[in-house]
């Protein structure tokens, strides 16, 4: 029942948005739907609902983390959208509003599903629903970005489907007895899975969902899509929609670990994680477009997530924590970047200088978000990144630790150069008729909320959250659910 609500409520809101025919009133549906969703999630936190529909749906700790992250992100972003869509009167926002709700619905589906097939369906739905967001600006560049996003997304999702089938084939040995794509079945009979097929399944799922997630070298669509879509869409993409494929990979990893393939899976994850960080570092250095820079930073952090999971229990805990921290911080960054983009009508260092003068609060938030995302205390990402480093050192993976720290340093240098030149200095043509647009109350309120959360999590990790995180980490490393 509660699952039906989780998925259905946003779905209905989305359909309603398609029906309502007034661009002024339609956006108000978003906060409405998100509030409902959030309250349901809160209820989930109070009591974890049991399985439903012959075990196809159940929330475990992993799902709960993703679900709550999505819910919070959407709630705050929907408030931002009110103001944003009011400022973008020239665009019809029907599709935009509807698709946002659909994304929430499909994300919830992914989070609560215990069935790899349903998980895939939800993922594909999310992918498709995102395309209109990327294409919101309706210009040639956004068209190109959308095309690339669609093609690569579809390829990746197709590969993921292939991986899912591989998983089912790996389950052939227990023919007939139970659904071979039901995670619980797979876990319980993990011992009897045929390893070659399982390996194949993991590889396909890693590459497929990795493409959606934006791990290097599968990330090529990311800078374009993030760069051309509006800031709020960027926040949703980077914060929520990357979390779903990550969940998919985690499921696969869970099964591999249960089947005793954790060595193999961890090796792959560490490799691809470091590769992603290195790629991000290469492209962040000297990046002149700050939205593309954020995209590459997202690539970097996807890499960090993979790396963390590849480093065993402690690392997994840190990675899951980082999933949350990265999402929230990306929320700050993309929303404030969107404000700056609009205040200057450009997003490259040639157009944008001295944002601190034209859009002071957004610029400050952008600066703070940058400091946070690069892992400086007292902000939340510091805790998770430091924990990952500790995990690497504790495991005596000194090479990995060295690479991790070195790449962080390089990336910091690259980002700092861009961010500071955006924030500081004197605006190019000091006509401040735009400056009014820069800081409008709701549009700085949203990133401020994210910032507050980031600082809070950096200084105080609630016990319940810690419990859930460690529970999830246990699940990942062969613990019983």
């Amino acid at each position: 029942m509660i699952y039906l609500l989780l998925v259905g409520a946003p779905l209905l809101v989305g359909l309603l948005a398609l029906v309502v025919d007034s661009d002024e009133r339609r956006p108000w549906l978003l906060p409405f739907g998100c509030t409902i969703h959030a309250s349901i999630v809160a209820a989930c936190w109070k009591t974890l609902p049991g399985p439903a529909m012959n075990g196809w749906f159940r929330i475990d700790d992993l799902g709960l983390i993703v679900l709550s992250l999505a819910s919070v992100m959407f709630l705050v972003c929907s408030v931002y959208c009110l103001e944003y869509l009011r400022l973008r009167k020239e665009r019809r926002n029907r599709l935009f509003t509807a698709c946002l709700s659909f994304i929430l619905a499909s994300v919830s589906l992914v989070a609560v599903s215990r069935h790899m097939g349903i998980l895939w369906v939800g993922m594909e739905a999310a992918t498709l629903a995102t395309a209109p967001l990327v294409y919101f600006n309706h210009n040639e560049k956004s068209l190109e970005a959308t095309w690339k996003y669609l093609m690569m997304g579809s390829l990746g999702i197709g590969l993921a489907l292939l991986g899912t089938f591989f998983l089912a084939l790996a389950a052939i040995p227990f023919e007939g007895r139970g659904d071979p794509l039901l995670i619980d079945t797979l876990l319980s009979r993990a011992g009897t899975l045929s390893l070659p097929w399982l390996k194949g399944a993991f590889i396909f799922l890693l590459v497929g969902y990795g493409t959606k997630m934006g791990l290097a070298p599968l990330h090529s669509w990311k800078p374009d899509a993030y760069g051309e879509s509006p800031g709020v869409a960027g926040a949703i993409l980077a914060g929520v929609i990357t979390a779903c494929p990550f969940l998919g990979i985690l499921r696969a990893f869970q099964i591999c670990a249960a089947a005793g393939l954790s060595e193999f899976a961890q090796g792959l994850l560490v490799m691809i994680g470091l590769l992603s960080m290195a790629t991000a570092a290469v492209f962040i250095i000297g990046q002149r477009d700050f939205k593309r820079m954020l995209a590459y930073s997202s690539v970097e952090h996807m890499g960090i997530l993979a790396l963390g999971v590849g480093l065993g229990p402690a690392g997994s805990f840190a990675a899951l924590l980082h999933l949350i921290n990265n999402g929230l911080t990306k929320g700050v960054l993309f929303l404030s970047a969107g404000n700056i983009h609009r205040a200057f009508g450009g997003k490259t260092m040639d157009h944008v200088r001295g944002a601190l003068r034209r859009a002071p609060i957004s610029a400050t938030l952008f600066l703070l978000g940058f400091v946070a995302i690069t892992g400086s205390p007292p902000f939340a990402p510091f805790v998770s990144e430091f924990s990952i480093l500790r995990a690497a050192v504790d495991g005596h993976r000194f090479g990995v630790a060295l690479g991790f720290v070195g790449l962080l340093a390089v990336i910091f240098i690259g980002m700092a150069t861009t961010v500071l030149s955006v924030v500081y200095g004197i605006p190019p043509n000091s006509d401040s008729e735009l400056s009014a647009q820069g800081d409008s109350p709701l549009m700085i309120a949203a990133p401020m909320v994210f910032m507050a959360l980031v600082v809070f999590l950096g200084l105080w990790l609630p016990g319940r959250l810690t419990a859930v995180l460690s529970g999830a980490a246990r699940l990942l490393n062969g613990g019983a659910s």
Binding site: G117, A145, E175, L181, F283
Partner: protein, 214 residues
């Protein structure tokens, strides 16, 4: 009925090879429609235990969607495009045919490594599906016209679906339907985007879509 399934599978591979070799967009669309229909028939022949209602339902849905709906969408998408031919693909037709052949070999080699799942009447299914997947990817990679890329994606999807046949009896049919629906919606969206591309650049060649780069 094993013979029939063997024939169908061979025919599917042949069709993908043909696609690799042909240049006319409308032609390609028709071919891929034909391939879709074959896929629709195939499940009735592959499985040992033969018919059961949900299987029939799936086959019907398959037949309609892949055989008629999707091609119609594509044709709709390119209706106002003048040039209906893939002029010079990134990889020429002959080379792509050769690569396709090579890929077939590779897929058989890969299939050797994997234990054949029990309960399949034909061992051809897996290598053929792998080959189709790879040739679809090859087509996505080697063509400039947006539509040909979508066609490549369709071939790729068909390959994946073929693979799905190997386990069709275990995966609940609702999920199969969901998969099918998703694919259709995907192609639908792609069609819309192609339509926009055609309007924006008054051609559907993706060569113009290289402005975003570092």
């Amino acid at each position: 009925m094993g013979q029939l399934s063997q024939l169908l599978l061979a025919f599917i591979v042949f069709l993908s090879l043909y696609l690799l070799g042909s240049s006319s967009l409308t032609g390609c669309i028709k071919i891929v429609a034909l391939q879709g229909m074959c896929l629709g028939v195939l499940p009735l022949t592959v499985r040992a235990e033969g018919f059961h209602p949900q299987g029939l339902l799936l086959a019907a849905g398959m037949f309609i969607l892949k055989g008629f709906a999707i091609p119609w969408v594509l044709l709709y998408a390119i209706r106002e495009v003048k040039i209906r031919r893939e002029m010079e693909p990134m990889i020429g037709y002959i080379p792509s045919l050769l690569i396709g052949a090579a890929l077939i070999g590779v897929s058989f080699a890969l299939a050797e490594r994997l234990p054949v799942p029990a309960g399949l009447r034909t061992s051809l299914l897996i290598p053929v599906s792998l080959a189709t997947v790879m040739m679809g990817m090859l087509m996505m990679i080697s063509r400039f016209k947006a539509v040909s890329q979508v066609i490549g994606y369709l071939v790729f999807e068909n390959g994946v679906y073929l693979f799905g046949l190997a386990i069709a009896y275990q995966v609940p049919w609702i999920i199969e339907m969901g998969v099918l629906l998703d694919v259709f919606v995907a192609v639908f969206v792609m069609g819309i985007i192609i339509n926009h591309i055609a309007r924006a650049f008054d051609s559907i060649s993706t060569e113009k879509l290289t402005r975003l780069s570092d």
